[in-house]
C-alpha cells in the first residue's frame, strides 16, 4: 500500500516536472540530492566533484524529463544518470589522483585490522583512522567497474539483481566484482 502511495506521488511529481513546474523541481532536488550525492561521492571520493556532478545530473534531468518513460522508476533513472555522469566526468582522474595523495600518514601501518576496539583509547582511534584512510584510498584505486558495483551494493544497499539490471551485467558478474573488491581492499590493509 505504501509503495502504491509512493508510486502515485512519483507519477504526480513526474507529471508536474514535465509541465515545467519549478516547485516540483525543487521537491525533486530535495528528495533525491542525498541519494545522488552518496553515489557520486562513493564513485569519485571527492566532495566538490560530487556536488558538481549532482548539479549536472539535475540539469540533465530538467532537460530530459519529457523523454522519461518511467520504466525503471524515477530513482532508478536518476541513479543511472548519476553513474554515467560520474564515469564521464572529465576531471575525475586528475582530482582522484590529487585526492589519493592527500594522506600525510605513513602507509606502512600494517596489522591495522588487529586494532582492539577498546573504547576511546587514542591509539585505537588513531589505528581506526588509519584503517579508514587506507580503505578509502584503496576504494579510489579500484577499477571503475568494480568500484561502481561496490558503491551500489554497500552505500545504496542494492541487491545483486538490481545492480545487474542497472549495470547491464549478469548477476554472477556482480558477485564476482564484489568479491574482487573485498579481496583487494582486505589485501591492502592486512599484515
Amino acid at each position: 500500500m505504501a509503495s502504491n502511495i509512493d508510486n502515485i506521488e512519483e507519477n504526480d511529481l513526474v507529471s508536474r516536472l514535465k509541465q515545467g513546474q519549478e516547485w516540483a523541481f525543487n521537491i525533486l532536488v530535495n528528495k533525491y540530492q542525498n541519494m545522488l550525492l552518496k553515489i557520486a561521492y562513493g564513485i569519485t571520493l571527492d566532495r566538490e566533484e560530487s556536488l558538481e556532478i549532482v548539479q549536472d545530473v539535475f540539469v540533465s534531468v530538467h532537460k530530459n524529463i519529457k523523454n522519461f518513460r518511467q520504466d525503471a522508476g524515477l530513482s532508478g533513472w536518476l541513479r543511472k544518470i548519476t553513474i554515467n555522469t560520474c564515469l564521464n566526468w572529465k576531471r575525475k582522474w586528475e582530482r582522484r589522483f590529487r585526492w589519493s595523495h592527500q594522506s600525510i600518514e605513513p602507509k606502512d601501518e600494517n596489522k591495522l585490522l588487529r586494532a582492539k576496539k577498546d573504547g576511546n583509547n587514542p591509539e585505537t582511534l588513531y589505528r581506526e583512522k588509519q584503517i579508514e584512510l587506507l580503505v578509502m584510498e584503496n576504494i579510489g584505486k579500484l577499477p571503475e567497474k568494480i568500484r561502481v558495483v561496490f558503491v551500489l551494493n554497500t552505500l545504496e544497499g542494492l541487491s545483486y539483481d538490481e545492480i545487474a539490471q542497472h549495470m547491464n551485467i549478469k548477476r554472477g558478474t556482480v558477485s564476482s566484482r564484489l568479491h574482487h573488491a573485498r579481496k583487494i581492499l582486505l589485501e591492502s590493509i592486512k599484515d
Binding site: 560530487s50 558477485s175 582486505l186
Partner: protein
C-alpha cells in the same frame, strides 16, 4: 599461510553478508559461522569494510552544503536557456542536423559522380576554332579525335 574453510569459500560468505542466499542456506551458514573461526573472521572483515565505507562517506557528505543546490541548479538551467547559441542549437534539432548532413553528403557524392558527365562537357561548348581550308605548303597534317568531346585538332607546319 592463509587458512581457508573447507566448507564455504569467501564468495559464498560474501553472498551471505549481502543477504543474497536463500533463507535456508543463510541459516545453515549462520550456524556454521558460530563454530568456524575462519568464516566468522571473513564475515567480520567484510562487515567492517562496509561499515568503514558507509561511515566515512556519511562523514564527508555531512560536510557538503546542499542548501543552495536547488537554487544553483535552477540558475544554471536559466543561464543555459538564455544562451543564444543554445537556442539556435535547440531550434535545429539533432534530427534536422542529420537530415541536412545526409542531403549534403548525397549532393557531394552526386556531384563527384556526375562531374565527368555534367560539368566537363559544359566547359567545352563547341570547337574553339574551325579551319575550313589551309593555304600554302603543308608538309603534314595530323588529326586527333577524342571520343568524348569529338574535338578535331589539326596540326600543320609550313615548309
Amino acid at each position: 599461510m592463509k587458512k581457508a574453510c573447507k566448507i564455504y569459500d569467501e564468495k559464498t560468505i560474501g553472498k551471505f553478508v549481502d543477504n543474497e542466499l536463500s533463507s535456508e542456506k543463510s541459516k545453515t551458514i549462520s550456524e556454521h559461522i558460530e563454530t568456524c573461526p575462519i568464516c566468522d573472521s571473513i564475515t567480520a572483515k567484510y562487515n567492517h569494510l562496509s561499515n568503514i565505507f558507509v561511515q566515512s562517506t556519511s562523514k564527508q557528505l555531512d560536510k557538503i552544503d546542499t542548501d543552495l543546490l536547488g537554487q544553483n541548479v535552477l540558475e544554471q538551467i536559466k543561464r543555459e536557456e538564455n544562451n543564444f547559441f543554445k537556442k539556435v542549437f535547440d531550434y535545429f534539432s539533432p534530427k534536422l542536423y542529420l537530415k541536412i548532413a545526409s542531403i549534403v553528403a548525397i549532393m557531394i557524392i552526386s556531384l563527384t559522380y556526375f562531374q565527368e558527365r555534367l560539368i566537363r562537357p559544359l566547359d567545352i561548348i563547341g570547337p574553339s576554332a574551325i579551319v575550313n581550308s589551309v593555304d600554302g605548303n603543308v608538309s603534314s597534317v595530323m588529326i586527333f579525335e577524342t571520343k568524348k568531346s569529338k574535338h578535331t585538332i589539326i596540326w600543320f607546319s609550313e615548309a
